[in-house]
Amino acid sequence: MPDTITPRARILASLVLAFAVSAVTSPIMLPLLAMLAGVALWLGRAPWRRLRAPLVLAAVFVLGLGLASGTTVLLPLGPLALHAEGVQAGAMIAARMLAIVALVRALLGRLSPQALADGLRGLYLPPVMADMTLLTLRYLDDARAELARAELARRLRGGPVGWRGLPDRAMILAASLIRAQDRAERVWAAMRLRGHGALRAAAWPSAGELGVIGLAMACAAALLALDIAA
């Protein structure tokens, strides 16, 4: 995926394409959706381990609906049976989901947090939400690392695990919240001094951005036309 595409155009293109894929209902479109997902995965070069959860969810849909719904037996499995209608409904859901996940990964997966925040600000998001996104992204890694450190320290001290550890975990969360409250004003003031924040007005879309969004809309229209024709 070319790095010259702006974050704002990437977010808009992702939304347009995701909704178009979400609108596909014809089972004949399944191979096309699978191909779309494959191309998007190749373009996005997403590591497979990050796709584990969507793949597991997709398998749950195909097997779950296949076992629970339908009348035409596809594969008898002892007291249970896999039904064609259920498998088809599950496969449609799974294909739509995987195609959207792959598209989002390809278009947005390699954006830096700052670029993502800039893209959202460019979409005329309310200043409160744009600033909240910026500050959240700025502090996210710190907060996760701090919680992980506290959890590790708790376990090294021999803290209880599983359900007996819930009150301890609540105390860790409370400590994190209190520290975050103390740090919040200072971090935000420093960021504003460095010129961050939603005070900068969003620029009008450039010709390149309009081209990318137009291309995404054309692809979405073609996908929907194919689905209606199928």
Partner: protein, 207 residues
């Protein structure tokens, strides 16, 4: 408990965006009525990161595990800032970790945002007199409410060809699997709010 992309019809996903936008506009209008709307912003953003990180904490429920939701706690700590904060968190989760989805962002915003605002309203009304009761709702009660909203959305959104009895059975199994989360989150939020009330009550002073 996030709705993934591709499960619900596109019309329903768009309706979710509309409803979430309405609720967010209401929240932002209430925030803008404050003497200094930007004053609560750093705290809201910092809290989102902690909630975001905390939602990755897994509670073991054999043979799998469930994750904390903390929507009620966000409502109690952030007040009207909770709805925009939840949408920001859900967007980042969808893009960065693949939890939830981009088309279902609006519906997921409602599933977590409505319980958060309910917890905020209850805390504002009875939090002073019966803080433990309000905390129990903010913990377990909001998870139950989110579960009900999630199940209702899935029931409405699944294809008509799916057998309704099987659909209800699958949803019952899903809800039952999440019941331990109601208990776990109830305990965590109750303890956490007790600590915050004693040590840092400023964190509970919301809009």
């Amino acid at each position: 408990m996030h709705l993934a992309d591709g499960i619900v019809p596109v019309g329903m996903a768009l309706a979710g965006y509309g409803a979430s936008a309405g609720l967010t506009a209401l929240s932002l209008s209430r925030i803008n009525r404050l003497p200094d709307p930007g004053a609560g912003l750093p705290r809201a953003a910092m809290l989102v990161t902690v909630f975001f990180a905390a939602s990755l904490i897994a509670i073991p429920v054999p043979p799998a595990s469930v994750h904390l939701v903390l929507a009620g706690l966000m409502g109690v700590c952030l007040g009207w800032y909770a709805m925009p904060a939840i949408l920001v968190g859900l967007f980042l989760q969808a893009v960065m970790f693949g939890h939830g989805g981009l088309t279902t962002l609006g519906l997921n915003g409602l599933i977590f945002g409505l319980p958060a605002l309910a917890a905020f309203a209850l805390w504002a009304r009875i939090g002073g007199r019966w803080p433990d009761l309000a905390a129990a709702f903010a913990g377990g009660g909001t998870v139950l409410l989110a579960l009900a909203l999630f199940a209702g959305t899935v029931l409405l959104g699944l294809p008509a060809s799916v057998d309704p009895a099987a659909e209800r059975l699958a949803l019952m199994a899903l809800v039952t699997a999440h019941l331990p989360l109601v208990l776990a989150e109830g305990v965590i939020v109750l303890v956490l709010l007790r600590v915050l009330r004693r040590v840092e009550p400023r964190l509970l002073a919301h809009a």
